[in-house]
């Protein structure tokens, strides 16, 4: 066993898992509150990259800018991507999902797939059908620490993802709005009776999930240096798997699921063969669903009539 290699791969897994986790949070929050699998979420994440790309281009950001100007450009980019995506999430919920709330489950599910295709096509019309280079404003040197090493962007990805996850955790657990979200997730009818505006709360959930996806999009754009309108499809599918693995509806579970899948993917690449990555990911999912149908940290949701 080459321990140095294992450490290197753990860093890779942590980076990949952090990205999956951030996207998975959006899936799990929406599912938790209205039991809808929001298939458009992966595309919201890709749209975040596109907004970031447009913003950076507009600001003329390059790697050779002064540090202060670059920091300003990055802050504007993050804000733009997060706010625009948050607003997009709210609009999607208002016009695509709210009219179908309370109908049988198949209708909103199909609508979600439709929204996903619409977003993909809008992105394709906007930036074209080919992969688009993303400005490499942050250098990505590889730090050789003796036998192991880490890329600078990997540290950025891991650090910023963890900050976002902690912020979400404190918001949901520690604020009044978070409490309203949890109450609505538990039983929206009772929550409404208690005076919670559930429309607002559900919109807020979409807003926060989409803000996270938007930020995730900016980070991966910077990390991979490339965006493609179709990227959200695979990323969304895997993040959705992460959410189910962790226990859909459970935010801590989604984060855990994301990291587990990230590790499974890199370990497969290292020790089994990269072509088996998806096979192992989905095998793990099947095993978890057989032996723990509620996911790793799943919550038992009450049956609704």
């Amino acid at each position: 066993m080459d321990w140095n290699l294992l450490v290197l791969q753990l860093i890779n897994g942590l980076t990949l898992g952090a990205i999956y986790a951030v996207i998975a949070l959006g899936y799990t929050m929406v599912y938790g509150i209205i039991e809808l699998i929001n298939f458009a979420h992966g595309d919201v994440y890709t749209a975040g990259s596109f907004v970031a790309l447009a913003t950076l281009t507009l600001l003329g950001a390059t790697r050779h800018m002064a540090a202060a100007a670059l920091a300003f450009a990055l802050i504007v980019t993050f804000l733009a991507a997060m706010l625009i995506m948050g607003a997009t999430g709210v609009v999607i919920e208002r016009f695509a999902y709210r009219p179908l709330r309370g109908r049988q489950r198949l209708a909103p599910l199909l609508t979600a797939i439709g929204v996903s295709f619409s977003l993909e096509n809008i992105l394709q019309l906007w930036m074209g059908p080919s992969p688009v280079p993303f400005p490499q404003v942050l250098p990505n040197p590889f730090f050789n620490l003796g036998a192991v090493g880490v890329g600078q962007m990997q540290l950025v990805v891991i650090f910023s993802s963890i900050v976002m996850m902690l912020a979400l955790h404190f918001f949901v657990q520690g604020t009044k709005l978070g409490k309203a979200m949890r109450a609505t997730a538990q039983d929206w009818m009772a929550a409404e009776i208690m005076g919670i505006d559930i429309n607002k709360t559900i919109a807020l959930t979409f807003f926060i999930g989409s803000v996270l996806a938007g930020a995730g999009g900016v980070i991966t754009g910077l990390y991979y240096g490339n965006v493609w309108f179709i990227n959200g499809f695979r990323a969304g599918l895997i993040a959705f798997t992460a959410a189910v693995l962790g226990g859909i509806g459970n935010t801590t579970g989604a984060a855990l699921g994301g990291f587990v899948i990230g590790f499974v993917e890199v370990m497969t690449a290292q020790y089994v063969g990269f072509q088996w990555a998806e096979v192992t990911i989905f095998s793990v999912l099947i095993l978890v669903l057989i032996f723990r149908p509620t996911g790793l940290l799943g919550q038992q949701l009450p049956e609704r009539t």
Binding site: Q9, G149, A269, Q275
Partner: protein, 406 residues
């Protein structure tokens, strides 16, 4: 239940009409078509998405060939016309879409032959259809040997008429392209240990297999071999695994959109600073865009001669540049020749599918802008030249070419 049965029966009837050989759409063009004003050449290429940079310059060359034929008077007053189909779905070439396109093309009795497709796995799906219909299909760029050579399983794609060849190509195959890439790496670049990644598609896996075989034969070592799950964006883990095996070359079998560009870009992220080589799937501008500055120092082979180096192609190059105000793509000259063969066949025997196919099958010493060649008994060109390119200052530059023509 009964309604379901009716539905199924209805579907079965419809699909029989649509696909059955000998049904109305697949009849050869005859007197009725002759009375029409145009002779149609079906074209199926990836025209949208990440591969549009492949399809567009190839299609431009086809249009150029048709234009020239029409300016010269067409055939007995009838003009040539292109019917273009796009086989890219969501930006990536798609065999099912290609098959659907070819069926639509064949359903039009004015279509005398088909120029295309571009990607080998699309050919796997379309050749059985054109073979059953007995319609000529000429590809500018499909390089997988399994499409023509029985020893690579080509009889599977021409089950309907195993001995009646209808599929031809004007490019040599990956059982040459792969070895050229291996030879160049081993002999010229003096690289002895290779790690191989492929995209698990017909073309990518095929060229990687041929590369591995030749590299082993030369005495080199293949330290690892992995496939890429479709749609992967993050290659850091597999590149870290490869780095640990200390190869001195990374060979990629596949095209830019299935990972060719991102892999090159991410090699640097994990500190893997070795040369990178691929087949014609990465020798395109799209690769330069995706890999950015990191593209420099990559090598790639193309199953065609460099048109810029051919005295016979000077007129074509000038005409192309004048008409489209841009440089032709790697397979433009081949696309021009593929279309020209169909046009010349019509001029020789008239717009009849069966006669056109027979004329092309017997093509001997055909003089074209990419040299003089014949089609062998499997439909492969006897013109066997493979070029090697490298990226310098963000551009693909021609390095060398190897001639296998006997």
């Amino acid at each position: 239940m009964r309604r379901l049965l009716f539905l199924l029966a209805g579907l079965a009837v419809i699909s029989l009409i649509a696909m059955g050989p000998g049904s109305g759409g697949l009849q050869p063009a005859n007197g009725a078509a002759m009375a029409g004003k145009t002779i149609k050449i079906g074209v199926d290429l990836p025209m949208s998405g990440g591969e549009a940079p492949n399809g567009e310059p190839t299609n431009n060359a086809v249009l150029l060939a048709i234009d020239e034929a029409n300016k010269a008077g067409g055939y007995k007053g009838m003009m040539f016309e292109e019917v273009l189909k796009d086989d890219a779905v969501n930006g990536v070439h798609d065999p099912a879409q290609g098959a659907k396109n070819v069926q639509e093309l064949l359903a039009d009795s004015a279509v005398v032959g088909i120029m295309g497709n571009f990607n080998s796995n699309v050919g796997k799906a379309t050749i059985p259809i054109t073979n059953a219909a007995g319609v000529v299909q000429i590809s500018p760029s499909q390089t997988n040997p399994g499409l023509t050579k029985p020893e690579f399983g080509a009889l599977d794609v021409r089950k309907a008429h195993p001995t009646q060849i209808n599929y031809f190509r004007v490019c040599p195959t990956d059982d040459l392209q792969g070895p050229v890439a291996a030879d160049y790496a081993f002999k010229k670049l003096k690289l002895k240990k290779v790690a191989i990644l492929d995209d698990q598609e017909t073309y990518g896996k095929g060229i990687a297999d041929e590369f591995a075989r030749e590299f082993g034969k030369l005495g080199g070592t293949v330290v690892s071999r992995d496939g890429i799950p479709k749609g992967t964006q993050d290659f850091h883990a597999i590149l870290t695994a490869i780095k640990a095996k200390a190869p001195d070359l990374l060979f990629f079998g596949g095209v830019t959109t299935t990972g060719g560009g991102l892999i090159r870009k991410q090699m640097k992220d994990v500190g893997l600073t070795i040369p990178y080589e691929g087949g014609d799937g990465i020798v395109e501008d799209e690769f330069l865009k995706v890999a950015g500055d990191d593209a420099n120092g990559s090598y790639g082979t193309v199953a065609a001669e460099n048109a810029e180096k051919l005295p016979t192609a000077k007129g074509f190059l000038a005409a192309y540049k004048a008409k489209y105000k841009s440089d032709p793509g790697a397979y433009s000259a081949n696309g021009y020749v593929a279309a020209k063969i169909i046009i010349d066949a019509v001029k020789a025997v008239g717009p009849d599918r069966a006669k056109v196919r027979a004329w092309v099958a017997n093509l001997k010493n055909y003089k074209s802008i990419i040299g003089t060649f014949s089609f062998d008994k499997n439909g492969d060109t006897t013109n066997k030249i493979v070029s090697v390119y490298t990226v310098k200052n963000g551009k693909w530059e021609w390095l060398d070419q190897i001639n296998f023509t006997l």
